[in-house]
Amino acid sequence: MLHLRQAPSTEPTSRRRRRRRAKLKNTLWALLFIGPTAAGLAVFYIWPAAQTLYFSFTRWGAFGGHTWNGLDNYVQLAHDPDVRSAFMNTIWFTLLGLLSLPISLMLAAILNQRGRKGVSVYRTLMFLPFVTMPAAVALIWRWLYSGDYGLINYLLRHVGIGGAYWISDPRTALVAVAAVGIWSTVGYNMVIMMAGLKAISPHYYEAASMDGASPIRQFFSITVPLLSPTMFFLSVLSVVGSLQTFDLVYMMIGHTNPALPQTRTVVYLFYQKAFIENDRGYATALALVLLLVIIAVTAVQFRLQKRWVHYE
């Protein structure tokens, strides 16, 4: 609450007037502060979202000029094999992306052990991939994965294994790209989990060790349940993020890669339809379907959390 220019007053009528004026002033100030954000939101989010909804029912070409075609885009979507495979690929990316959580939890638990040295160095190193530009990450990994000249296959050859053409072989490309996605989010998840671990009172562990619980038992009976709100938060973020995978596929796979059909995500397909094939009405319909899927999945996650998330 803002109290500006408030002067003590003795006269009752003028006090009331002043109070009213102050109230008006407060409202105006509030509007003034909310205004820019609300205007920005309305202009750049809400209005375009409404337009997107409208355009998804139209045929909308390269240069504007849309014509209403009812549910045609949605009917076409339902029969498009590319859409089906894009959703399947996206689901795989999402499931694989969730692997980031147990990995981060393990790392966080290790780094959180009392008396461990150099924690901030490890934490910084593991957080680095998260703040590195996806384009740079993709280029470096492309080289690591390269079949003939990549570092991974070079190392594998030394132990007598002939590596694959990781990102141009349809059988390995999806996992290879998903691994990079996991690698780049582990640091972030780990930092959040370390914060969550710090919030668990040491008394629980003291009491547990007095009762003779092993460290492993402590981990599963104390750490995991008490950390479940953090894990829930991270799993929601991870799923929403994975469902929108685009940059890694775009940068690492590219449009002439024979593995593209096996790695093309929904957002990549959206990009292809809207900006390469100029079929924007269809692309907006696809984007809306993805939005509905994200909403549905998130709703399910919130439903399921009652079963496994413990709030203190």
Partner: protein, 418 residues
Amino acid sequence: MRNPLKALGVVALVAALAACSSGGGAGASGSPSAGQPATITYGLWDNIQAPVMQKLADAFHVTHPNITVSVQVTPYSDYFTKLKAAATGGQAPDVFWLNGPNFQLYASNGMLAPEQINASNYPDALVKLYQYQGKQYGIPKDFDTIGLWYNKTLFDAAGLKYPTADWKWADEQAAAQKLTNPAKGVFGLGAPPSGQENFYSTVFQAGGSIISADGKKSGYDDPNTIRGLKFWTDLIQAHYSPSMQQMTDTDVVRMFESGTLAMLYGGSWHASEFANNANTRNTVDVTELPAGDKKATVIHGLANVVFARSAHLDAANQFTEYLGSKEAADIEASTGSVIPAFNGTQQAWVNAFPQYKLQSFLDELPDAVSFPVSKNTSVWNTMESDILTKAWSGSESVDQAATDLATQMNAALAKEGQ
């Protein structure tokens, strides 16, 4: 600022000023009457060519002191996204570069102003590339054809004679076999699934087609087209070419430059790149593409076009007319970056890199076939790379892939007509 009403007033003032300035801009861009100074914009994507384009703009300003040209460079990756948005809003550059695959999209949507040109000044296939429904909308700027680049060192090591202009497919396949040396990691001929550099030309050499002349039907189910595609997949299956996976991981041009690829189908645009690379400066050369049933190469080139909704149509037309002149072509040729489209001005480009037989790219002109395009080329370009890569990586037969591609492409072309 303590007083909220005052603050609101300032916000309103700023908004009003912003509205004023944009309104003022619109007013100022009204068409000037003859003799009044005008500034037109020239949109293009190549940073390497930008200084030459600026030179042309300056030279034009000398003879047309009333018209100033402002050159605007947008990187290729963003060029068409930005141009599409700008054209939709009526704000595209007055004059801009356009390529074959995008031309009909802009022409059919009424984005381009018709042009008057003397067709005999330019290669026929280029003039036709920029016609839509019988009308000319673009003035050819430059062109490129495809040639057979080869590594002389690897030919010498294998004891083979260098390729010549009379080579046939069989000569090339035999050479590719002899040049391939798995022990040294050397391949005979690179066969990436690339239309312009590779299979378009061989399809034409086999008597096939990519798209019918009226742009309504796919040519991929033609047995001759399929023979043109098999030329490449056979090379991969015989391991005379790197595998599809290898070529995805490492670009064939890089392989050629590092000496692990003996022959490469490459564009005239590669000349300056190879000349600037110490590995290839003096060890590679180029000749005409080997003939199949007949000789053929795909030809593509850019055009200068005028935005139909330009506020300075007259000035823009004068500028494109100048860009299409011999004088402008001579300035462009002297830099060696591209082959100018104006007939008879190409010698300067050939002379720019005397160590290569660049004349080969010009000798192919009588057999050159227009780059295949339609109204929404990129739709079936995406299908080409999606479907043909299956045949290239061996997961599907060429016949199957080509038939699928033809079916899907025909459906896409039918949709274009709506």
